[in-house]
Symmetry: C2
Subunit: 206 residues, 2 copies
């Protein structure tokens, strides 16, 4: 649909919004016209927040997560267990694992997974720095928490080969049926994995 905009300024703003993932022309128009109704202060605050983030946000020099400081709050925290590193794909995954409140170790953000189809090779990811962390520090365990996809599995295997020569325990997050899921709808690989990796029943529910 060739939508004609009554204003070039409007059209430009809409075009910028449509570059965002999952935002089409209609949604973009709605968002932009919503902003237009707001006060100039609010629009400035919106616009500034993005510019400021882009200009000032740093990436933690240890784990590569986003941070306002050179080393992120998790990596500087002495109460966290620095001998366990959870390897994740991106910053969202750090937040997702943090939200579970089940992990008190530290993180390592790869910045993606190996995907020849998308032109992502191991050298594009923060794998070298992970190996440096393993060799230099007293890391006891690496937990691989990547997506359960072909790319995630490939990346897991690549890291496994790179780290097999070091004295470090390598584990992968459990594959099993989701909490709340009904058994009959689970796929057989997941269900099979959940049986093989069954855990002692302690009487606790979730």
């Amino acid at each position: 649909m060739n939508q004609e905009y009554p204003s070039a300024l409007l059209e430009r703003a809409v075009k910028e919004f449509t570059k965002l993932p999952g935002i089409g022309r209609k949604t973009a128009t709605r968002l932009v016209l919503h902003l237009l109704k707001k006060g100039e202060d609010e629009v400035a605050s919106f616009s500034e927040s993005i510019i400021k983030l882009k200009r000032e946000a740093k990436y933690c020099s240890v784990c590569h997560s986003i941070s306002d400081t050179d080393i992120c709050p998790i990596c500087v925290n002495p109460t966290r267990d620095h001998s366990i590193i959870c390897v994740v794909e991106n910053i969202q995954d750090v937040m997702a694992v943090e939200n579970t409140m089940q992990f008190r170790g530290v993180y390592h953000v790869l910045g993606g997974v190996i995907s020849p189809m998308d032109g992502v090779s191991p050298s594009d990811l923060n794998i070298e720095s992970l190996i440096t962390r393993v060799t230099s520090g007293d890391v006891k365990e690496i937990i691989l928490a990547l997506s359960s996809t072909m790319e995630g599995d490939t990346t897991n295997f690549y890291i496994y080969r790179k780290l097999s020569q070091f004295d470090v325990k390598l584990s992968v997050i459990a594959r099993g049926i989701s909490v709340g899921d009904e058994l009959e709808y689970a796929d057989e690989v997941t269900l099979g994995s959940s049986i093989i990796n069954r855990t002692p029943f302690t009487g606790k529910t979730y």
Copy 2:
């Protein structure tokens, strides 16, 4: 869910995005992190487009639609029929009617509909200026193209009463079943209206 962000800058940008309609915390995080991956130029361009729109966009002094100039391209266009005014709620509706390519008249943007529940009274809308247009120019017809809601109907009636003393034809867009709709799923009011307002069959389909 109390999501802890590893960066205050990130959190601020996400908060700004969640103020937009239909954008939750998860989507906002995804959009912001997408922008963060882009180059500084692109982020600046995004941010600037909104600021520029807010600062420089004008509203047409005739029809109140958005415009880069004092009078919008439609209102200055001599090939449009200035004797027919289509009354709509907002700028999106101008674009929607324009996209149909079935209307060669001009517009009048009310800026909303009368809604006592939301505290919108007739004085908050561009109704006075519509009456001025009717009294000062040679307007022959006003087409009311508001939403088919209680608020839209109220606004239609209010405008009808205000304009009844003037020699101007007042019409309302047809209510009927949508193109592609199946009859059995149409509500009875719509179906009834489509029967009452039936049109001569010319052999054309859509």
